[in-house]
């Protein structure tokens, strides 16, 4: 066992995950470090290509060739997941860490009844046996907000709406009582009304079951209302880790400030939005030094040299920037 602080559930340290395509090496996740406490909801935000999903897949060890976890440690419940055998890892997936994906239709088997799919998860992980499996399945369907679990049990995925399918996935993710849920943009494919219901349900469920959650999204509004802490990613790096209240009051990283101004500048009386200039760099053509420096309003000479390291500026507040 590796010693961890009492309340820590997951500790990711110096994670590097790269994709080796031909002669190019795409460093999708670069020196990412963060911890998640028991019962904590951690919002992982960033734009497309920032490395959020690859980070999640690395934790689950679901990075497939040509991708590979190059280095780092992922200590979960006292064990480094990167040192487990594939067989041991299979036990962790599903039973200790549950995952909810973005597209609920592709994540469900179209020719199996809803109840059978949930029951299968419970049986594989050996949580219950015999009649207990069916009972547990009906209980889970009720927990994710279905008034008529018996009817849902015998339905097929195509008979459900997108929001209902996402709830079934949620039921499967929590079915084995995991201590961590990883939700990767679970509401992006849904319309606004359904999204709002699913987010409400997810919050309530994770809270009442005492689970921790990594919630991956590009939508700052969702993080604001769901997370306790937030990790902001840019170009494969985590550039800021902060408490949600502090991040939304006064983000540390210039990129965070720019994002908040360009999203929430609407509500003020400003005539124009303060936009971040330039565009998101491709991972194959990253600038030197701080990856944000070509777009940064506070850029200094030092920013173009070596890349800044993550620095703790106050308790639970980390930033990767030479301004601090």
């Amino acid at each position: 066992m590796i010693d961890t602080k009492d309340n820590t559930l997951l500790e990711v340290t110096g994670l590097n995950t790269s994709f080796f395509t031909g002669e190019e090496v795409i460093r999708a996740v670069n020196d990412v470090t963060f911890t998640i406490g028991k019962g904590e909801v951690f919002g992982l935000v960033g734009e497309s290509g920032s490395g959020k999903t690859v980070t999640a897949h690395s934790i689950m060890r679901l990075v497939h060739p040509p991708g590979r976890i190059v280095s780092g440690r992922i200590v979960f419940e006292g064990r480094d997941l990167l040192e487990l055998s594939e067989k041991q890892m299979e036990e962790v997936r599903g039973s200790r860490i549950g995952m909810v994906f973005q597209e609920p239709m592709t994540a469900l088997n179209p020719v199996l009844r809803i109840g059978e799919q949930i029951a299968e998860t419970i049986e594989i992980h050996g949580v219950r046996r015999g009649n207990g499996v069916r009972e547990r399945t009906l209980e889970l369907l009720r927990q994710v907000g279905f008034d008529d679990p018996e009817k849902r049990y015998i339905q097929y995925p195509h008979q459900l709406s997108g929001g209902q399918r996402q709830r079934v996935l949620m039921a499967m993710a929590v079915s084995c009582d995991p201590s961590l849920i990883i939700a990767d943009e679970p509401t992006t494919a849904l319309d606004v009304a359904t999204e709002s219901q699913i987010l409400g349900l997810t919050c309530g469920l994770v809270d009442s079951l005492g689970m921790s959650m990594i919630f991956i999204t590009h939508d700052l509004t969702i993080v604001k209302s769901m997370g306790r802490s937030v990790g902001l990613m840019y170009a494969g790096r985590m550039v800021e880790r902060n408490r949600v209240e502090d991040f939304f009051r006064e983000p540390l990283h210039p990129y965070g400030r720019g994002l908040l101004e360009s999203v929430y500048g609407f509500s003020g009386s400003a005539k124009r939005l303060k936009a971040i200039p330039g565009s998101v760099p491709k991972l194959s053509e990253l600038p030197s030094g701080c990856k944000f420096h070509p777009r940064c309003p506070f850029v200094m000479d030092v920013c173009k040299g070596d890349e800044p390291a993550m620095k703790e500026v106050a308790k639970d507040q980390w930033v990767r920037c030479y301004l601090y």
Partner: protein, 312 residues
């Protein structure tokens, strides 16, 4: 002066088979009796979730889809009754900007050709030097320099491509621009740049705009008036501040709450009402028995109207 554009009771229904092999057909009422007016220089924001009929409405206005019934009157001419030549002449003055600038730009054309094509086609400039000058001017107006003339779409970022698409739409000097989710496919940090570009266009021209988006914040920032669409029907329409500060329809209120990150916990409704009742009945928080029996009419004053039995 009358409105530039009047859309009157436009309907567009599609018939689809319920499953691959079924004989029974289901009617999708994508746009179901929508009416609105748009004045010169005015921007109308159209909001609604996916499937509400926003895009179909946008396409019907430009006759990219032929409405089943209704009238689309542009500059005094009913497009549905007008002849082909007349529509072509009016097309020059109506342009559309799509969501995805990658699929809306020809990948084999350089930016110069992409913008020069409509300039030549609609006879906005004649002779090579004039066309070149016009293309350069348009490019600058969307915030790109002359280096971009030689680029292909794949050599540009999403934001730059969307600037080119906007430039192409402005190239014919249109009176009406319809923008269908023009920022949704862009990275968050780029969206604000494009929103500012639309703001510049609004301020420096008297182009009328229909701005379609599911993002209430963007719509609020850019629009003079707001139209809220739900299942192909207008549920609320009014001045920007009337709608945002005093939303009358439960659906509008839900959208505004969700845009602030205030999420509801509520069981999804079952399809109980059929086609007779209020389209929002299934999901409504304020529904009563009466709502299941009759579809509410749009009512209220000229500056703010709502389709809800319970709105006061």
């Amino acid at each position: 002066m009358g409105p530039l554009l009047s859309v009157l009771d436009v309907r567009k229904h599609y018939e689809v088979r319920r499953t691959l092999f079924s004989v029974a057909k289901e009617t999708i009422r994508a746009v179901d009796g929508v009416s609105f007016h748009l004045g010169v220089g005015e921007t109308l924001g159209v909001v609604g979730e996916s499937g509400s009929g926003k895009s179909t409405l946008a396409r019907c206005v430009l006759l990219l889809e032929k409405p089943d019934s209704g009238e689309v009157v542009f500059d005094g001419v009913n497009l549905l009754a007008a002849g082909g030549e007349e529509v072509k002449k009016l097309r020059k003055r109506m342009q559309i900007i799509f969501q995805d600038p990658y699929s809306s730009l020809n990948p084999r054309m350089k930016v110069r050709e992409i913008i020069a094509e409509p300039v030549r086609f609609h006879g906005m400039a004649k002779g090579k030097p004039d066309v070149e000058a016009r293309v350069g001017e348009i490019l600058r107006s969307v915030g790109l320099d002359e280096d971009f003339l030689k680029k292909y779409p794949h050599e540009m970022s999403g934001g730059q491509r969307q600037r080119v698409a906007i430039g192409r739409a402005l190239a014919t000097g249109p009176a009406l621009v319809i923008a269908d989710e023009p920022v949704s496919s862009l990275d968050v940090s780029i969206q604000a740049q494009i929103v500012n570009l639309f703001l510049d266009i609004r301020e420096s021209t008297d182009i009328s705009m229909v701005f379609v988006s599911h993002d209430l914040n963007v719509v609020r920032f850019l629009s003079d008036r707001i139209l809220v669409l739900y299942k192909g029907k207008v549920v609320e329409i009014g001045g920007r501040d009337q709608v945002f500060l005093n939303p009358l329809h439960p659906y509008t209120r839900m959208l505004i709450r969700a845009s602030r990150g205030d999420f509801a916990l509520r069981e999804e409704g079952t399809n109980g009402t059929g086609s007779r009742g209020c389209p929002y009945y299934d999901k409504c928080e304020d529904r009563t028995k009466e709502c299941a029996g009759q579809a509410p009419e749009l009512r209220g004053g000229e500056d703010h109207r709502v389709a809800c039995l319970h709105a006061s």
